[in-house]
Amino acid sequence: MSRAPERTGASGPAVETHGHGRSRSRVRLTRIIVLHLFLVPLALIWLFPLWMMFIFSTMPDSGIFSPGVQLLPSDQFLTNLAALQEETRFLRTIFVSVVVAVIYTALSVMLTSMAGWALVRYRFAGRGMVVAIILGTITLPYFVVVIPQFILVARDLGLSDTWVALIVPPLFNSLGVLFMRQSFSLMPTELFDAAQVEGVTEWQIFTRVALPLAKPTMAALSIILFLASWNNYLWPLLITNSPEMMTAPVALGTLIGVTRVSWGGIMVGAVLLTAPMLLVFVFLQRFFMSGITAGAVK
């Protein structure tokens, strides 16, 4: 079934009522104009920072700080990229970011779908408590755990500048558990029971019956988790010191405010961080939106 047609409190009449077709269409036209007089300038303001990020990434610093306002791209992108690469080996940090985000996303989806499955499929001692602890602590600010996490990982275990430190601690995120639990709970139990009667093992019921049905949810969850990992700043900032293991946001952050570094180069970094996610947003918008709304928990 398709979703309800879009409409709103501010829209025109949803049903045709009385006559006076012309005056009504004039009212409608006026409303369309007023709506756009408000929304178009606001949309341009909203697009402005992203547009300028792109424009500045193509300009030499002399152009960025020239007296006039330039709104069209220049041709210095590759020059700026070369400068950025020389300053931080930025392509290496992008590589680190990609590896971390991919492995983190895969692991998180795997762990949390198993956990979500257990909570739906089985009635077991401690089930209520597990759910209560997850839900009861989900809105606690991340800052509450960041200090002990740092002491444990960096000081006690000495894992600074390692892949494990970048990937494993953020896996605590319980978003996926709630997400997958919701998805599994909507599936008909008979399906799983029938498989069980036929002697299929519990693990196979999970991987061959339940998971394929949960693909859209897994796609939405993957996008949200990948984005979170890709943009994660505080934890990688704390846990990495060597340029070899810095993620791209951390490396870019070290350049902001350093006068020696060109702004054009920094903007190239910002574009390289942002553009892939914008493409994901544009082409996978459906999954992206459902990821944000269904699991609207940061």
């Binding site: 501010a10 949803a14 500045f56 597990v130 606690l140 946001p249």
Partner: protein
């Protein structure tokens, strides 16, 4: 133990291990740390230098004041804007819907560092593009990062730019669950669109708007990257220092884990308290 219980825990175990090690245990550990003096080894029990210090520390009080100021201005402005945006973006009268949605929703995927860099650059005092526009229309140049009020305004604008669309997406999903016939009936009764917004849309959206408020409060309490990067470590002179940034300084610059943990718990308690007040104010009076 029954066989099915054991199977259940096999499925749960990998996640629960990570969850316990990196979430539950740190929550407890942090509480314990908040009572310890950690400035020199060995750490000793001394809540006087952690919890006791909070109310006497002008730097903490400054960060607290700034955070509350941002909270009081930024959250209401952003939620109101997000609600209006959601309603307008959902309108059948809207043209170029795809581009409009892109304009407001795109910031949701932009990382903190990338957008901090852009905002720092476009607001820079000398020949930043915003100042070029400001002076271009005949207004005096603003020293965005030297003037405390202006610096605070930049932070508020930046956070609003980044998060308004995120909240609008959530509110939009709430809008789409309001049944059409309510509006049809109202239109038949000649209720104007504005009245429909205040009498139908807003009351029905209340739970989801409250949810957005709570999320935003929690987010604002942890504001860190923006003052760290845009206003250069909470400048000018601590004018944009937030609780999140203060915690970062105490924990990871001064390595004073005990005091930083007390700050962390203060942030958590404030977030919970403010959220509860919001839910209480917004409760259904029936």
């Amino acid at each position: 133990m029954r066989k099915r219980t054991i199977t259940a825990y096999w499925f749960l175990a990998p996640y629960l291990l990570v969850f316990a090690a990196f979430w539950i245990w740190p929550i407890i550990q942090s509480f314990y740390l908040s009572f310890l003096s950690t400035r020199r080894q060995p750490w000793t029990f001394n809540p006087g230098v952690t919890w006791g210090r909070l109310l006497e520390d002008p730097a903490f009080l400054n960060a607290f004041k700034n955070t509350m100021l941002i909270l009081a201005i930024q959250v209401p402005v952003m939620i109101a804007l997000a609600t209006v945006l959601a309603v307008l973006l959902n309108s059948t009268l809207l043209r170029a819907r795809g581009i409009m949605r892109f304009a407001f929703f795109a910031p949701v995927v932009v990382g903190e560092v990338a957008y901090a860099a852009v905002f720092r650059l476009i607001f820079s005092e000398d020949l930043g593009v915003v100042n070029k526009i400001v002076t271009g229309v005949g207004l005096p140049k603003v020293d965005w990062f030297a003037n405390p009020t202006a610096a605070m305004a930049v932070i508020i604008m930046a956070v609003t730019w980044r998060w308004a669309g995120y909240n609008a997406i959530i509110i939009l999903s709430g809008l789409q669950s309001i049944p059409d016939d309510l509006y049809e009936a109202a239109t038949l009764d000649r209720v104007t669109p504005t009245q429909q917004f205040f009498r139908i849309t807003l009351p029905l959206l209340k739970p989801i708007i409250l949810f957005c408020v709570v999320l935003s409060v929690i987010g604002t309490m942890q504001l860190f990257a923006e003052p760290f990067l845009i206003t250069n470590r909470g400048g000018p002179g601590g004018a944009t220092e937030t609780l999140g940034l203060f915690l970062y300084r105490q924990g990871f610059t001064s390595l004073n884990f005990g005091y930083a943990s007390a700050v962390a718990y203060t942030i958590a308690l404030l977030a919970v308290a403010i959220s509860l007040v919001n839910l209480w104010v917004g409760r259904d009076r029936t």
